[in-house]
Amino acid sequence: MPPLLSVKAMTHYFGGLCAVKNYNLTIKPGQIIGLIGPNGAGKTTIFNLITGVHTPTEGTIELEGRDIVGMKTHKIASLGLGRTFQNLLLWRHMNVLDHVRIAHYSQLKYGLFGAFFGSPRRKSQEAEIEENSHRLMKLFNIDQFADQTVVNLPYGAQRRVEMARAMATRPKILFLDEPTAGMTPDELVHMVKIIRQVHEDFGVAIFLIEHRMKFVMELCEYVQTLVFGEIIAEGPPEEIQHNPDVIEAYLGKEDLT
């Protein structure tokens, strides 16, 4: 099977600082891949590089065989890269339904004049979008908040809004940046369930950053460990869990077991 996303020899410098060094990644359709590493290792930078927020200094990124280096973020997103953010970037004055509706932007078929004068095509498509949004909100268990402003929602629900929004862009790969940060154990179990369900229902590949080993072990079939911008170990989760380098990076050199 040809890879969905392949990143080769990606290196990025912020000024003189090497943030990511010689990073390689291949995601095949339907895979769940985890990226772990201590704080400041450059995990979110890798997300930002692939999604086009920053342009890598060196290296190639191909999405379904198409070179996406230097493309605008929204263009890359509409090609099938959906993402969530570590520190919740929601639109604070908007309600949940609007969040999900707006993410359909790249699928809009009417032009500006259709929007100004309310063309029939606009009406029919917006009805479709609304229906699809309600379906997504039901899936993520946020449909009861549909017309509430997002800032009034509990934290776990806000995370789910972000995921619903990302899924509305019809991604082929979903990038999740610490999907369980700040969640209670109950919410965590629920999140595992949701991610599994999204993975099965939509058949998307998932690439996630996570700190909680248990979560990564349960979900991912392949894990990369990033330390100071370099991959120090990669492989199936069981292997990574027992890799001495990984344990060292996370827990320090002294034997603590």
Partner: protein
């Protein structure tokens, strides 16, 4: 308090059509019986703005003004609204079954009848109504940029000037004999038919001009963009002042009298309609997304540059239209009109009425305009009272009187007897 609630509850069952009918009766009553009734109350003539101007000059006449207002406006409106409620509710339920646009147009026709009759009493009222409607266009369009898109643009008077000069140039060149362009090139009878095109051309020129502000907005936001837009306003103003070919600082005059009340009303409705359509569409909602969090909007496939450009060009287009109408209502423009004073007025209307709300903008434009006219006899103190009100609104409602609310025509026009 209780009596007020009780009094209000009497009128819960009155639909929009009922209130319009009541208002229509009141203005008709004034039209035919206004003079005798005003003499009855010892008033020299029909008070222009509900007597607000008159009262400030002659405080002793307050009782007669109140009496006049009650007899002419309040009593007929309340009585007719209440008495005809069963009838108008029946009408409203019939109209509810028809398409929304038809029922909206019928209500608008009735509304137009009201303002046409009301402003038919004297020229001053007519001017106030026209200028208020132009202010509505300006306010609603600035709300697209400052409210929905969340930039702080100060260039609206500049866009307005572009529109005013572009459309005036067209009408003066082709349809009027004047000092700057000489004799008319086309027969004057064609003028009213060409006027919409002149207005649209004015809007288009303003929209193109807005690119000067829209393109920097890709990279800067907030205070810096505000300064750029302010600079743009001054550039437009001084450019016009220095161009002798369009009159320089003396301005342009003797525009043909094309901006009659129905024309201004038509453009106002079209403006509100298209902007409402736009901001409630998914495409228009992206304006809010870019305002609230640009990186997030970008990652959700929203083309942020296109969105910003659309907001600026669309807002500027309507500002240009308003400018064109303004020039033809006053039949005179000069560059000093489009300065800081105008900017302050428009900004006050937007922020007073409420951000992110067309409804709020209409309320803001109407109230600041009417207040400004009503307090005219206070002269200098007017500019103490109005800003004071603005400060109070900002303290108690930081986003303006009515913010983050959209017009819901269906809800507004539905029968109220259920």
């Amino acid at each position: 308090m209780e009596t007020i609630t009780k009094f209000k509850s009497i009128f819960y069952g009155v639909p929009m059509a009922g209130w319009l009918l009541g208002a229509f009766t009141a203005v008709m009553l004034e039209y035919f019986l206004g003079d005798p009734i005003s003499y009855l109350f010892d008033l020299p003539k029909i008070p222009v703005l509900f007597g607000a101007l008159f009262v400030l000059k002659h405080p002793l006449m307050i009782p007669s003004i109140i009496g006049y207002d009650i007899v002419i406006y309040i009593l007929p409106i309340l009585l007719v609204a209440k008495i005809t409620a069963p009838l108008t509710n029946a009408l409203a339920s019939v109209l509810e079954k028809t398409p929304l646009w038809l029922s909206t147009i019928i209500h608008l026709c009735l509304f137009y009848g009201i303002i046409d009759t009301w402003s038919g009493i004297n020229d001053y009222r007519l001017l106030v109504v026209k200028l208020t409607m132009i202010s509505i266009i300006l306010t609603v369009s600035l709300n697209v940029i400052n409210g929905y898109q969340g930039e702080f643009s100060c260039s609206h008077p500049g866009f307005m000037a572009l529109g005013a000069y572009a459309s005036s140039t067209i009408t003066l060149l082709f349809f009027a004999n004047d000092k700057i362009f000489g004799a008319a090139l086309l027969p004057a009878a064609w003028g009213p038919w060409a006027f919409p095109f002149a207005i649209i051309a004015g809007g288009a020129v303003a929209a193109i001009g807005s690119l000067v502000v829209a393109i920097p907005s890709f990279r800067t936001r907030g205070d810096y963009l505000a300064i750029i837009s302010l600079a743009f306003m001054f550039i437009v103003k001084s450019a016009i002042e220095n161009m002798e070919i369009i009159g320089g600082p003396r301005g342009m005059s003797s525009q043909p009298n094309y901006a009659s009340l129905p024309v201004v009303f038509f453009w106002t409705i079209v403006c509100i309609w298209t902007i409402h359509n736009f901001v409630t569409s998914v495409m228009g909602k992206t304006l809010n997304a870019v305002r609230d969090n640009e990186p997030a909007a970008d990652s959700m496939t929203v083309n942020t540059r296109k969105t910003k450009m659309t907001a600026f060009m669309f807002g500027a287009f309507w500002a240009g239209v308003a400018g064109g109408l303004f020039a033809h209502v006053l039949r005179y423009v000069n560059p000093s009109t489009f300065g800081l004073q105008k900017l302050a007025e428009i900004l006050a209307m937007v922020y007073f009425g409420g951000l992110n709300s067309i409804y709020g903008s209409i309320v803001g434009a109407v109230s600041i305009n009417v207040l400004g006219e009503a307090l005219r006899p206070l002269e200098l103190f007017k500019w103490i009272v109005i800003p004071l009100i603005l400060i109070l609104v900002m303290i108690f409602r930081p986003y303006g009187l009515i913010s983050f609310t959209e017009i819901n025509m269906k809800k507004m026009l539905r029968p109220k007897n259920k």
